[in-house]
Amino acid sequence: MLKDITLGQYFPIDSPLHRMDPRTKILSLILLIVAIFLANNPWAYVLAAAFTLLVVALSKVPVSMYFRGLKPIWFVIIFTALLNIFFTPGTKIYLFGYRTPMTWEGLILAGKMALRLVLLIISSSALTYTTSPILLTDGIEKLLKPLAKLGLPTFELAMMMSIAIRFIPTLIEETDKIMKAQKARGADFESGSVLHRVKALAPMLVPLFISAFRRADELAVAMESRCYQGGEHRTRLNEIRFHLIDAFAGLLMLAFFAAVIILRIIL
């Protein structure tokens, strides 16, 4: 179950999307998300879906990866859809002889919301699959640069973020190991009351925390041994740069955004 979490996993291949400046990708994603939420008519939805598919194609990441990214949230999508179908007021329809009424408006709303969520996850996955965490955090750091003048420790924040991402798989693996070890000794995480299950987590979280602190300690020593001295004078292996492809992508993105707005106004 824990292995299903793919968000934040970089897929190291070469594609136009991989070659783009992380800043372009981050800003485009923000714009895309806003557009998805501004969309309010079928044509805008079709356009947003088509644009997202184009991004998926350009990323050259196998479509199955995107499905795996969706896996952990299917439940949320289906649950919200059901809520919408049955609890939205409007024209009642009775399908297959069920007594509980669905509403026409509810069905439409459910479809919209599900599509929005799916597009949201797919487009964010496209960013994390095609951008290594270091470049991603570099991009965020550069975008936040203006705030550094106000005293925000942008470099440190970016560093913390990339280390957190780096340790996600390590800690997941460790959780798995501890869980198995405790199960082997008779711990039961899967049955009993909620209170019982929460209590059962303690023998898992304590070792996890202790080991995380030990790791942090060792990592700090290892980083110091490699001349880590904060953000000043630091250079990069892959210095992020704005290329021609970013200009194209940016223009395309703006055109798409404008189209969604225009559709909103005229329809």
Binding site: P12, S132, P133, R215, E224, R226, R234, T235, L237
Partner: protein
């Protein structure tokens, strides 16, 4: 500058200033390591090996005595980064020393910190990865690699700093036999092909045998400092410290004890085979 690393009357304690008697983790250590030398450090758990290692790149500063790295006193703050840069370190747990999610980005960490220009970093990273034979996997995620591969990435990370010396603190302790061999072969290669100074802290005697010199520590003191053959042939002494000797040395030692006429300073399987054939 004839010594790469030299310690004079080095003392260190983690807790100083308590009313009771100070417990020195390192007690009056005199040691010198020449450029290009491969020194193995042996000793029981908690005898102070890691503490000693951390003095070699100024992660710790002596409480008494002096440590010279490249002829300079590590207390001299003006050369702080030079100590770090000249003496690389590789630790036991590869997971806790890899900072990035792509192999080549991790290897680039040290030169990035040193402010090396991008194209020069690229050159160093490629070369370091080729040295440890990980160039093909440069775009991989470290957490998907085997233990031996991760540890070689960590070694590449140290090499990319272009140090004169690398200190390995039990680099093979968490690895399977295959990973252990990969790592040790890489270490020997660094010494022989790149002429790097190597300090190897280990619990595996078969690894120590490949060193030019073996330092045996106990309770913060250096008890032996000699070529491997002289150290390991004294099986009784090693046993008295709770340390092992290579299996073949042990075998010949026991045979000799049972009255069989065999050399007791055998260190490698090949030597052992030769000796046994002579007996037949």
């Amino acid at each position: 500058m004839s010594n790469m690393i030299k310690t004079e009357h080095l003392r260190y304690a983690y807790q100083i200033g308590t009313q009771e008697k100070v417990k020195f983790v390192l007690d009056d250590i005199d040691l010198s390591i020449s450029p290009g030398e491969f020194v193995a450090v042996l000793g029981h758990n908690g005898c102070g090996k890691s503490t000693l290692a951390k003095h070699f790149n100024a992660l710790l500063l002596p409480a008494g005595g002096t440590v010279y790295v490249g002829g300079m006193d590590t207390k001299d703050e003006a050369h702080y980064w030079e100590f770090r840069k000249n003496v690389g370190m590789v630790f036991q747990n590869p997971d806790n020393q890899i900072v990035a999610t792509v192999v080549e980005e991790d290897v680039a960490f040290a030169p990035e910190n040193l402010g090396v220009p991008s194209d020069e970093i690229r050159k160093r990273v490629d070369e370091a990865l080729k040295t440890v034979d990980m160039y093909e996997l440069r775009r991989h995620a470290p957490h998907l690699l085997s233990g031996g591969q991760k540890q070689r990435v960590a070694i590449a990370g140290a090499i990319a700093m272009e140090p004169k010396c690398i200190v390995f603190d039990e680099p093979t302790a968490m690895l399977d036999p295959k990973g252990r061999k990969e790592v040790i072969d890489t270490i020997v290669k660094l010494k022989e092909e790149k002429h790097m100074t190597v300090v190897l802290i280990t619990h595996y005697m078969e690894e120590a045998v490949r060193a030019d010199r073996v330092v045996v520590m106990d309770k913060g003191k250096v008890l032996r400092n000699d070529v491997p053959r002289n150290v390991f042939s004294d099986v009784k002494f090693m046993k008295s410290l709770g340390l092992d000797v290579p299996q073949v040395t042990e075998l010949c030692y026991r045979l000799a004890k049972d009255g069989i006429n065999i050399r007791s300073d055998v260190m490698t399987v090949a030597e052992c085979v030769d000796e046994l054939i002579k007996l037949l």
